[in-house]
């Protein structure tokens, strides 16, 4: 039989032996045994389609984590004299939640101020007395990068979120903002609003519905697959064998040339062993992932940051965290580092820092009645900044998961988590 190079590669790569999973009890004396992984097929149901109920817009003209679309900063647009816009229309646009959150998401403004304004940006309630020219305000909204290269503010005009006429109306509205903000209580004021704290008992099955998935995972663990094998065949005593395994995930997988987390590992390892096809984002995959992470509860996250492959992945991941994405032109660091938008409010939502965000995944989302693994969380972040998401298990998500996990090393795992 004649094979060309790529066929030969496929053949060689069809099954891989990794050193990522713990050996079974009977073989523990010999140290760690290689784990088999299936490598040929995607680990998700392809071709990838966005989840039902999510925004349907495609933002292909803007950057994603995989593909950078250049976003040039244009020249200052000349405005002769003063801008005569409609302040009423401008107010409506400034408060419009359907346009990328609009001004109120980050700025205090309005007479009266609508409920729960954010504080990522400056308080603009007395903006009219700052003495800015109309041309300056117009251009700052159109593309603030011209004036402030370090800004996190989206280029509303340059990225076509608002038209020139609409921005003129917003300028007219800002010119009416003449009195300093007064809040009726500490909750309304974003600078005094208490930081939200999750106090629900996430391991109480009457509180957290994902505990049912943990039990389902436990059941799947000992269920025989098409190859008449179950997880138990090789890994008896899961409580002991998997006491700390998931705390060290994700890992770089040389056969796949990317970082994979618990979820993709489950898919590929099950295909190569029990014969089950637990696609990423399926109920079965999530249940097993919850169960394997649940077994590590109380363990500190302990992801390797020293090996050569992981150092390279962290370098790539750090670059990705700083990459501007989507129509809103936001990088992860823009919203989740304290130097920028982190530890502040966008409307009623608190933007947390990177540390503290990883130890509870997969997590139950009470606002959605769904279990979200970290891939789905990243996908939602992408869609929120109006950037097309990548399929689960994309190498970019792996690099980010690894980078964030290393930043979270030492945090005690508590899975399944529970969040709004």
């Amino acid at each position: 039989m004649k094979m060309n190079n790529s066929q030969l590669m496929l053949f060689v790569l069809a099954v891989c032996f990794s050193f990522a999973a713990p050996a079974s009890a009977s073989e523990s004396g010999k140290g760690k045994k290689a784990a088999q992984l299936e490598l040929k097929n995607p680990a998700y149901a392809g071709p990838w389609e966005r989840y039902k109920g999510w925004p349907e817009t495609s933002w292909s003209e803007f950057s994603t984590l995989q593909k950078i679309v250049p976003s040039p900063i244009g020249k200052t647009i000349k405005i002769k004299g003063s801008i005569e816009g409609d302040p009423k229309k401008g107010e409506k646009l400034a408060f419009d939640r359907s346009r990328g959150g609009s001004c109120l998401a980050c700025h205090v403004m309005g007479n009266p101020i609508p409920s729960l304004p954010g504080n990522v940006g400056l308080d603009l309630s007395a903006h009219a007395i700052w003495g800015r020219s109309d041309e300056y305000i117009f251009n700052y909204i159109f593309d603030p990068r011209k004036t402030n290269p370090n800004t996190v503010m989206p280029p509303w005009g340059a990225h076509k979120l608002f038209s020139v006429e609409e921005i003129k109306d917003i300028v007219a509205f800002l010119k009416t903002q003449k009195t300093h903000s007064v809040f009726k209580d500490n909750l309304e004021n974003p600078t005094t609003r208490p930081v939200p704290e999750e106090t629900r008992d996430n391991l109480d099955p009457f509180v957290n519905e994902a505990m049912a998935a943990m039990e389902k995972g436990k059941e799947l663990y000992s269920r025989e697959g098409p190859n008449k094998q179950s997880c138990t065949t090789c890994h008896a005593e899961p409580e002991r064998m998997f006491k700390s395994w998931a705390a060290g995930m994700p890992k770089y997988e040389s056969c796949l040339r990317k970082v994979i987390g618990v979820e993709e590992f489950i898919t590929r390892h099950a295909r190569a062993t029990t014969g089950d096809d637990f696609l990423m984002q399926s109920d079965e995959n999530l249940a097993l992932s919850v169960y394997l992470r649940f077994l590590t509860n109380g363990e500190p996250m302990n992801v390797d940051a020293k090996s050569k492959d992981h150092k390279l992945a962290i370098k790539r991941g750090t670059k990705l965290l700083n990459t501007k994405l989507g129509q809103l032109n936001l990088a992860c660091v823009d919203c989740h580092t304290a130097e920028k938008g982190g530890n502040k409010w966008i409307r009623g939502q608190w933007l947390g820092e990177f540390r503290g965000q990883m130890d509870h995944f997969p997590t139950w989302r009470t606002s959605r009645s769904e279990i979200w693994d970290i891939n789905k969380r990243f996908q939602w972040c992408n869609v929120s900044v109006r950037a097309n998401e990548l399929p689960p298990g994309s190498p970019e998500y792996g690099d980010i998961e690894l980078t964030l996990s290393v930043l979270n090393n030492g945090q005690k795992i508590s899975v399944p988590g529970i969040r709004h």
Partner: protein, 106 residues
């Protein structure tokens, strides 16, 4: 098979707080299978009866508006530590489920 029902009953003063979580798919019959495009047949719990030492304390008729893996919480007066609370449920296909728990001190 995971437990059909998970129950907890705790005595708080004179009142017993009962919590029940049932494992059930609760199909409405109005949902389509995304792969085949065909309607998924209805399969939901339609009767729930709770008893305290054999005496009915709650009798409910459920329908398709109840969520998957339903949760029900209720309070009963007059129970003592060790009393038996039983919940019996029947779905539209006639399958019976039950769970029981002894009242515990807080």
């Amino acid at each position: 098979m995971a437990e059909e029902m998970k129950m907890r009953a705790t005595l708080q003063g004179d009142i017993t707080d009962v919590k029940v979580r049932m494992n059930h798919i609760m199909e409405t019959g109005a949902r389509k299978d995304p792969k085949t495009g065909k309607l998924i047949p209805p399969h939901f719990i339609d009767q729930v009866v709770a008893t305290l030492n054999g005496k009915t304390v709650l009798d409910a008729q459920w329908g398709i508006a109840i969520s998957r893996n339903p949760f029900i919480g209720f309070k009963v007066k007059g129970a003592k530590v060790g009393d038996k609370i039983v919940v019996n449920a029947v779905d539209n296909l006639g399958t019976k489920f039950s769970g029981e728990v002894a009242v515990a001190a807080r």
